[in-house]
Symmetry: C2
Subunit: 390 residues, 2 copies
């Protein structure tokens, strides 16, 4: 294994009833003013808002609500939230939602305390290490991003047309409450795209050097198989608690830094999808579903050993009568078939990206990542986008 | 998955050269007086002592040495260490060694600050939660116990003839330096018994309910296969860095609490071995090797689903023409065969436990654990010990 440093400071409370059991106790130690952040109102429909508010009311804390956090949260929203936090001497940010809410909260937790230019100093350049953001706690209602167990926050800067983020250890939530039954009411498409986001996080780490014997790759395969199996169960029965709890913990495990240990990681596909998202606002997991197979068809020959292993160990591809290349390719096609099976889009058109979008601008804004088996040229990125148009 | 709470506060620095790179910086923030703890002198032979002392000298800290920590560290040694720590206003305990040194250091870190009866209040009963022990950092030189990433400390009370310990989160080392090349000089028998200790930690968690679809069990299988594969490589070539680094990280992963999430855990075999160790001082990993197969032959019918899965997924047992029970049993026998292959003892006689040991007293001191598929009676524990005598 390559050298690494690992720590993860988030304390996780997992399981049915965990919010009722622990939330009041957890927020006790923070200053009086708490900023409750959430999205566009789904938590008001599924009863989670009411449950949380009742608990918060019992604590005697002062609650300041900040809502309307959108999918692909914007830098403008971050600055707006930071203003609310400053004005009200907030002592704890409490995010209730999925990845977008959590990411926006992390960015707010920095912006509320930082006097310089947050975008330039934290998002454009590797940022300040010894900075203490506002404390953050999260209640996860949609799983997929794994944002609950790291310091990463993906934010869209609308003016610059850039979507991106970095993992700042100091932005790890201090506590994360994960109740799998909170995810029952997530619509099927959201659940599936969240599950695919998790799978993508694992693949983007797995498909990178070194490819020698490595604990992280073995764990990655175990988690990929768990996601695939449990996503199928959750599609058949959205209230299967076992499946929902596995998917929820898979999401956290995929992004709590463990799988990256000793690996370079790729994240080329994420980078391309982020830019597609910055220009179109498309669903993140669905965008990844469109791009992954075609990207892998471009690079699998360069990472043949690992793609072959993926085919055999994750998809159970039989090796008989096949060349190494054929085995590897069969794994990529099994992934593509799985994407169709779970009902995610396989073309840009299915994703809702039509001719009105300036695809050339999207391509030009993409950046070639370091971890890939082969560094992408802008030309090849362009080909990838062309190949998935229809 | 069953409900759980998870946190792990240890910061890990992993890889060749990590001690040279980080140690001086890491100890900078602690009080001037540092207590350097180690075992019976192997670190003076392999050059690690010299390397560490040179780094410590450069920091201007005052170093107090406490050596002679034995395998199966005793409660007497703990109290002796606590006295040294108190007398010299120690600000950081720095343990250099394997599980015995780390466990002894954790117990010292409690005893140095606690005014009551440490054995009664921390080892006999579930101890005090809000207690702040002395800060501890560790440099691992023998891998296997995984003690570097948890708060567990197994201590032998010679007077009471009891060996035991609990995982106190506040006893997690603040930092752990893991340089796989430090383990090159560990004698083969020690390396193999350490590797088997790791495998045993994984199995004792895996073979417990619930047996439904569970992330932790998938991760356990991935780690077991990694241990088995890399132990074979390290036996052939003790200086294979890849194998040594995988084994070192397997050990930490097996005991950083992740595999236990959502599971009851068993640890019946560990409990029996601890008592065998308390009466005989035998090598821990070797003692486990003797007891595991025979214990599993007693319980595999009660945990048939999981033992069958173990046989197929970990040992690649073919299912053709076999009943469920035969498949499960074949997995246990594959484990027994592996123990012989790697040169660990399979009988008490081979372990060096002869007629002079009062086996009945060992049996009577064993406790039936909660997590097992079937609760052991003293009678059955007696049978287990009888069956492995010769």
């Amino acid at each position: 294994m390559n050298n690494f440093i690992f720590e993860n400071t988030t304390k996780v409370y997992f399981g049915k009833g965990c919010v009722k059991e622990y939330l009041a106790c957890l927020i006790g130690k923070y200053e009086r003013n708490i900023m409750l952040c959430y999205g566009e109102g789904s938590i008001k429909k599924n009863g989670i808002y009411e449950e949380v508010m009742e608990i918060l009311a019992s604590t005697g804390k002062e609650i300041y609500e900040f809502s309307g956090i959108m999918p692909n949260p914007t830098y403008r929203k971050v600055l707006e939230g930071a203003e609310v936090a400053r004005e009200n001497q907030i002592g704890l940010i409490l995010g209730v939602g999925g990845g977008s809410v959590m990411d926006c909260c992390k960015a707010i937790s920095i912006a509320a305390r930082y006097d310089g230019n947050v975008w330039e100093d934290f998002w454009e350049r590797p940022g300040i290490i010894d900075f203490e953001p506002l404390p953050l706690g999260v209640i996860v209602t949609v799983s997929g991003t794994g944002s609950e167990c790291n310091g990463g926050a993906v934010i869209t800067n609308e003016e610059k047309k850039v979507k991106g983020g970095r993992d700042y250890p100091q932005c790890n939530p201090e506590f994360a409450l994960l109740d799998p039954s909170y995810t029952y009411s997530v619509p099927k498409f959201q659940m599936v795209s969240g599950g695919f986001d998790t799978l993508s996080h694992i693949m983007e780490t797995y498909f990178s050097e070194p490819d020698g014997d490595n604990v992280s790759d073995d764990l990655a395969e175990a988690l990929m198989k768990n996601v695939i199996r449990n996503l199928r169960v959750a599609i058949r029965n959205p209230e299967d608690y076992t499946a929902r709890s596995n998917l929820m913990w898979d999401a956290a495990m995929a992004e709590n830094r463990l799988l990256k240990l000793g690996k370079r990681t790729d994240f080329q596909c994420h980078q391309m999808e982020h830019q597609l998202g910055a220009y179109t606002g498309c669903n993140h997991g669905a965008g990844l579903a469109v791009l992954h197979p075609v990207y892998y068809r471009h690079i699998y020959r360069d990472g043949l050993v690992k793609f072959k292993r993926f085919a055999i160990n994750v998809w159970g591809i039989s090796v008989e009568g096949k060349s190494e290349e054929e085995i590897a390719r069969a794994g990529v096609e099994a992934l593509a078939e799985f994407i169709r099976e779970i009902g995610l889009p396989v073309t840009l058109r299915e994703l809702g990206v039509d001719e009105s979008v300036d695809l050339r601008a999207v391509v030009d804004s993409c950046v070639s990542m370091q971890g890939s088996y082969r560094k992408m040229t802008q030309d090849e990125i362009n080909k990838i986008f062309q190949e998935v148009q229809d």
